[in-house]
Symmetry: C2
Subunit: 127 residues, 2 copies
């Protein structure tokens, strides 16, 4: 698979994919004899994994750390588990923040609806 195909498949720019490889986020992307990247299934799986983690806001440095542990083989399973557990709690925190904000947005939207409907005449919005 060429970089342009991968780029379309995962909706990432070619620049981003090259960047990810350069900084060590993609272990062993195969190359054809003239140096052109030829992504196999494993390389695609890594891209998909990295994309998923990045979408949730996981830091690139953490992901590089994970990839490096992965490269070192089975001896790093404990450490990898620990890393993922830490990231999981970070995501749970983030989830909490988002839920709080959603509650707040819903409250305000409801308030604005009432104001528009004229149900609420006292325009004392508490920010």
């Amino acid at each position: 698979m060429t970089i342009s195909e991968v780029s379309k498949k995962y909706n990432l720019t070619q620049d981003t994919i090259r960047y990810y490889e350069k900084i060590g986020l993609l272990p062993k992307v195969p190359r054809s004899k003239n140096g052109i990247r030829d992504f196999d299934e494993e390389a695609c799986n890594w891209i998909e994994f990295i994309k998923c983690m990045r979408n949730a806001g996981m830091e690139i440095e953490i992901l590089i750390k994970y990839v490096n542990l992965f490269r070192q083989g089975e001896s790093t399973v404990k450490e990898r588990r620990q890393l993922l557990e830490e990231q999981k709690s970070k995501l749970l925190e983030k989830q909490k923040s988002i839920n709080e904000t959603l509650d707040r947005l819903n409250y305000k939207i409801k308030l604005y609806d009432e104001i528009e409907a004229g149900t609420r005449k006292d325009f004392t919005e508490k920010i």
Copy 2:
């Protein structure tokens, strides 16, 4: 309330608070006669609101837009509602991404647990 008090109360640096004011995120922070900020309840409420929205990842530009609409008074209620609704869908998207990633992390953590426990001898992690 001085800036250092506000800084402690909301766990934001003084620099960040000044920055927020400078770029127009904090409508009318009162000042004492020698030019020192003296945050009243409304200013604090704004800080708390901005902090909540920023924690959920809302962009500063959007928040500036909201603040500007707010300043223009009741005539902008419809527009403000619209803006909040848009941000709400963005947050719902983000929530979805996080949930997907959490599922994936849970799956991998379970896998690592099995490997460590020896329940799974075939070390065929699919990334």
